[in-house]
């Protein structure tokens, strides 16, 4: 829906009048070829940079100009368009460390970024979209400058020494336009990378796109003098050269995405990318099915089956089933049913977020206390059921 609004808005804007575009008319390039420009974003926010990329994708006539957008950002997890964030990453851990949690519009798997990761986005027409050419361009640029064994494998990953992945790729294809973006690991904190990408989710059934884990390595481990600025120059210049374009102040420039007058509409894109509805609400439907045995301190053992369905990032159904190993006590079964009702009433359409789940837990806890009275056995059992359900949500 929002996409359509943006597309409609496009018609209202004479984008040639936009400040940044007028600069293209002065670019010196060979005739009959689209002009090329390298933009280096001055923002270190993943959201602002993805918004800039989206804006350029929506508003640029790539038959006239091809863009290489380069940026780096503060620590961030970036999921593919159709992924389940909770299944791909340790969301609570990342959030506790101040890591931004974001979803991009392109396909592919989850990546972890920090300031020592370079992001490259090749924006062009759908017709000229060619990931392989872009990856080869990067590899050629780096090999020209440094003695380094880089190659592109069949999955479109750039490999170092034929084994370690140093770059992940993804793309978005539209009717007339496209972008291919990729990462380049310069000196990313590998410990954070591993911890952030280690999901604590158990018992999930999901049809979302899965990431393909790979052994990764930093380029700096091979080339100690490698840094962001050097790579920007080496790759940017090679990009211009391959397009027959000269490097000058217009064709190679810093760009600040945080500027609504230069990029009319970018704030709207930014808000969408930061919204809960986009980051979590876009998650393909999934369910969690778990069985718990307990309670630990009780002589009697029960098995509790918990099923939770999640649609658009919100709980759509919770089912609790309690079974006694020997027999099913009618009284206990009713008791479980009452707790189940409490969940159904309070959890329906509840968006998965830590504060929401804490509130749900507290509500059910209050309810439990109001119904059990002084029966010690029921207090213990009820508490165990509530704790088990809460355990299912540990990934949030």
């Amino acid at each position: 829906m929002l996409l359509r609004k943006i597309a409609n808005h496009k018609l209202l804007i004479n984008w040639k009048k936009c400040n940044w575009y007028s600069q293209f008319s002065h670019l010196a390039c060979e005739e009959n070829r689209p002009k090329r420009a390298v933009f280096v974003s001055t923002s270190d926010s993943i959201f602002e940079n993805l918004a800039l990329e989206e804006w350029l994708y929506e508003r640029t006539d790539f038959s006239k100009a091809e863009i290489l957008l380069i940026w780096r950002n503060r620590p961030a997890l970036v999921f593919g368009r159709h992924q389940n964030p909770w299944l791909e990453a340790n969301v609570p851990f990342a959030a506790s460390k101040g890591v931004c949690i974001s979803r991009r519009s392109s396909g592919g798997g989850t990546v972890y970024h920090d300031e020592a990761n370079l992001n490259l986005s090749f924006l062009t027409t759908r017709k000229r979209y060619n990931r392989r050419v872009n990856l080869d361009l990067i590899v050629d640029a780096l090999r020209k400058k440094w003695d380094i064994d880089l190659s592109v494998n069949q999955r479109d990953d750039i490999m170092l020494d034929r084994f370690y992945k140093v770059s992940g790729t993804a793309a978005k294809l539209g009717r007339l336009q496209s972008y291919h973006h990729c990462t380049l690991l310069i000196n990313v904190d590998q410990c954070m990378l591993k911890r952030c990408l280690d999901s604590p989710m158990i018992g999930a059934d999901s049809k979302a796109t899965k990431s393909t884990p790979a052994s990764v390595m930093n380029l700096k481990d091979k080339v100690p003098d490698m840094n962001f600025e050097l790579l920007v120059n080496v790759i940017g210049e090679h990009f211009l050269q391959m397009g027959g374009c000269e490097k000058n102040l217009q064709s190679f420039q810093d760009i600040n995405p945080n500027n609504e007058s230069n990029f009319p509409g970018i704030t709207g894109i930014l808000q969408r990318l930061q919204s809960w509805e986009w980051v979590y609400g876009k998650t393909p439907n999934f369910s969690i099915n778990r069985t718990f045995v307990g309670p630990i301190c009780s002589m009697e053992k029960f098995s509790l089956k918990v099923s939770i369905n999640v649609e658009k990032g919100a709980i759509s159904l919770t089912t609790l089933e309690l079974e006694n190993a020997d027999s099913i006590d009618r009284h206990l079964s009713d008791f479980t049913q009452t707790l189940h009702m409490c969940y159904s009433e309070n959890a329906n359409n509840l968006k998965l977020s830590h504060p929401n789940l804490l509130e749900l837990h507290n509500k059910c806890q209050e309810y439990l206390l109001s119904i059990v009275g002084d029966e010690h056995k029921n207090v213990q059992l009820g508490q165990w059921i509530l704790d088990s359900v809460m355990t299912c949500f540990k990934f949030v």
Binding site: M1, L3, R4, A7, G80, R81, H82, S105, S106, G107, G108, G109, D156, T169, A170, A171, K172, L173, G174, R175, K207, A208, T209, P284, N285
Partner: protein
Amino acid sequence: MAASVVRKLVVGVSSKIKLSTRSTVSVTAQIRSISFSRCLLDRLYTDKHEWVTIEKGKGTVGISEYAQEQLGEIVFVELPEVGAKLEPHDVAGCLESVKAASEVYSPVGGTVTEVNKRLSGEPKLVNSAPLTDGWLYKLDLGPNTKSEDLLDEKAYKALIGSLDTN
């Protein structure tokens, strides 16, 4: 060679196809004055490889054999919401294949009445049966639905032929 193949293909086609001197072919479908009831279940295509069949004011949309081949193995199908109102060329969904998310554009406008639920569990149906079981969504057509800028089967094949030889 390519041009002659294309010419053979378009003989007797109701669409007017202009052949330029080089290998590019510009296809201008003649305005269809035929009512929808007469072209029951004829598949009409966009130049971006979506198709629509129209029956009693209802359209069924999918992507072409050529499009699925180009995309490669599809791993996820994102479909519009039932009830969504689409204008022609609006983004209606997204197909993910080998790390790329490709937007699907609605060939006609209308209100979405049904989506192909099988695709959430079996996205590869779009690869194996793009014209049948791999349909994407159905819609009630808008009151002023026009099919002038859509291509019929033969015109679309001519377009594909020109793309392959480019």
